[in-house]
């Protein structure tokens, strides 16, 4: 019983870690920069598919997908990130000059179009059937019973690395320029910060990390189908960063953990068989209520954005 609970807990914490990577990426573009991106799932989807297509062996009979080069995993992860960046660049270039509302709608639309293509173009990625039995990293070195903990450990390390990178970006000149644009664009312009350049950079960097998160998601699920990449992911990650605290990187991680725990802990409720299918609905209703409650009573989230104070160094010297 105890090992069952521990396994379950490690599984949902792994999921939380994957959400945290996407949340950190989204936090950079949406929290630090002020982009209203409702299409972050498109980077995750493209990353996940790029990773899969590059690392699996060629399609067997009855399947059809492109590539299947059987490349090493680290190449796949890197390629997933790059693919995410490329998609971000292609989407961002024409849409970033639009107003917030239009940007939101277009990114939402792009994500949906990408999912439809993945669903319907069977030659590309085996359509709705997807690809199964995908390999997990370092699996051969461990016994199957401890492997879930190893995967969790690996993802915790990855979250830590992404956190350090995003954190440094946030407090660099680049991050401060993004915040300046978010707070007061005309003023930032007079300081020589070009909105188009900075927005696209933030968007492309977010695309990179969200793309790699796609690869990690494949590690976790070991299958890939288009139905994994609905706009629910976008909304869930947004909820996670709103709960944790927009523009706070620790908040993005905390929010992801709380969000996933809150959603999955409902499974412990035993409401009898037959209710299981309705559980998914009840789960999203409760998550929705949590989001509404947070926005109403603690709109800055659990960990609000820290105001950075700059000491006036010229005065001190």
């Amino acid at each position: 019983m105890l090992t069952g609970t521990a396994l379950f807990l490690s599984s949902i914490l792994t999921l939380a870690a994957i959400y945290a990577v996407i949340a950190l990426a989204l936090n950079l573009e949406a929290g630090v920069d002020g982009l209203w991106d409702l299409g972050v799932v498109s980077f995750v989807a493209v990353g996940a598919y790029t990773y899969t297509m590059l690392t699996v062996s060629p399609a067997s009979a009855g399947q059809s997908y492109i590539m299947g080069f059987g490349l090493p995993m680290w190449v796949g992860v890197l390629a997933a990130g790059i693919a995410g960046s490329i998609v971000a660049f292609l989407i961002g270039k024409p849409t970033l000059k639009l107003k917030n509302e239009y940007f939101l709608i277009t990114t939402f639309a792009f994500a949906e179009v990408i999912r439809q293509i993945l669903t319907n173009e069977r030659w590309l990625s085996n359509g709705v059937a997807g690809v199964y039995n995908l390999a997990q990293p370092f699996k051969t070195y461990f016994t199957p019973s401890v492997y879930p903990y190893i995967l969790l450990l690996l993802l915790v390390i990855i979250v830590f690395i992404v956190y350090v990178v995003v954190h440094r970006l946030t407090y660099s000149t680049f991050g401060r320029s993004l915040k300046a644009l978010r707070e007061n664009e005309p003023l930032a312009l007079t300081a020589g910060i070009r909105p188009d350049r900075f927005h696209i950079r933030a968007f492309v960097i977010a695309g990179f990390f969200a793309g790699t998160a796609g690869a990690f998601y494949v590690w976790y699920s070991t299958v890939i189908t288009p139905s994994l990449f609905t706009s629910d992911i976008t909304f869930f990650v947004w909820m996670a960063i709103v709960i944790g605290g927009l523009a706070n990187n620790k908040g993005a991680i905390v929010g992801s953990v709380i969000f996933v725990l809150a959603g999955e802990s409902l499974r412990f409720l035993d409401l009898g068989s037959g209710f299981a299918v309705r559980m998914a609905s009840m789960k999203i209703a409760i998550l929705g209520l949590i989001l509404i409650a947070i926005l109403k009573w603690r709109p800055q989230g659990i960990l609000p954005e820290k105001k950075v104070k700059f000491s006036n160094s010229s005065k001190n010297s």
Binding site: P94, A109, L295
Partner: protein, 284 residues
């Protein structure tokens, strides 16, 4: 011919859904993602009532109840946080969308339903009375809305509030009252649209999400917040979705709608309304 009929029917349903969406967008200045779930809510309320009575009274009660729900949701969820800005409102509406969807799903489950409606023969080749009814209802609602917004006192007040709510307030317009009207009308139109979706197709949990995407497409194509632009855009999107199916596989219906908005945004970011509204200003 059949495709054109389907196109007009689809357009009518989109129109009913997106006009209300535009009204709330105008009046409250935020994107109400939960609007799609109002379609779902009404479709399921009507489904529930349909077990005890025929479709017409069921739909009428369902639409009125949905309208009341719309006003209630506004009072409970949106108005108290209105000062916090569009972002907080937007994500509150996302939360509300999940709550509505989740509650409906918990009660009804994930099964696909259909209304109990009598089978009818085609009256005109390629058109059933239901399709005709949907088209007529859409036209009547459009005319009613036009009359309401331009001729009645409360309609003019709604337009004044949409244009400049502070100015409207100083001129003595009761903005709380106009908001109640806006949310009631918007939600009941959404409800009507949801029932029609159920009549021509089926009722399932995804319908709200699918429809909000198309509504967003129509809103962008029409020009954010322009009610007449959105009406024209609904017709364009409805027709192109159904006629496009002749050339492109039918599972890309939704993708066609999005391809349109992506193209429009790149060429003419202000949408269709900019064609007749040269100043580039928003119109009601």
């Amino acid at each position: 011919m059949e495709s054109i009929v389907y196109g007009i029917v689809t357009a009518s349903i989109i129109l009913l859904g997106s006009v209300g969406f535009s009204m709330t967008l105008n009046a409250e200045n935020f994107i109400n993602i939960a609007h799609g779930q109002m379609l779902l809510l009404c479709a399921y309320i009507t489904l529930f009532l349909n077990a005890y009575m025929s479709i017409v009274p069921a739909a009428i009660i369902g639409i009125l109840v949905t309208g009341v729900f719309g006003v209630l949701f506004y009072k409970v969820f949106y108005r108290p946080i209105k000062k916090r800005g569009a972002m907080v409102l937007l994500f509150t509406s996302v939360g509300l969308a999940y709550v509505i969807n989740g509650v409906v799903g918990t009660i009804f489950g994930t099964t696909t339903f259909a209304y109990k409606i009598p089978n009818v023969k085609e009256i005109i080749p390629g058109m059933t009375p239901y399709q005709l009814l949907i088209i007529i209802a859409a036209i009547c609602s459009t005319l009613f809305l036009h009359y309401f917004l331009t001729k009645t006192k409360i309609g003019k007040a709604i337009r004044a509030v949409s244009e400049n709510s502070d100015l409207a307030k100083t001129r003595g317009i009761d903005t709380k009252r106009t908001s109640n009207y806006v949310w009631f009308i918007a939600s009941s139109l959404a409800g009507l649209s949801g029932v029609f979706l159920g009549v021509i197709g089926s009722i399932h949990l995804e319908m709200g999400w699918n429809q909000i995407l198309i509504i967003l497409a129509a809103t962008v194509l029409g020009g954010l917040g322009s009610i007449y632009g959105v009406m024209a855009a609904s017709v364009v999107i409805g027709l192109s979705m159904e006629l496009g199916v002749l050339m492109i596989p039918s599972y890309y219906r939704l993708a066609i709608a999005f391809a349109i908005i992506i193209i429009v945004l790149l060429i003419k970011p202000d949408g269709l309304q900019s064609l007749w509204n040269k100043s580039g200003k928003r119109v009601a």
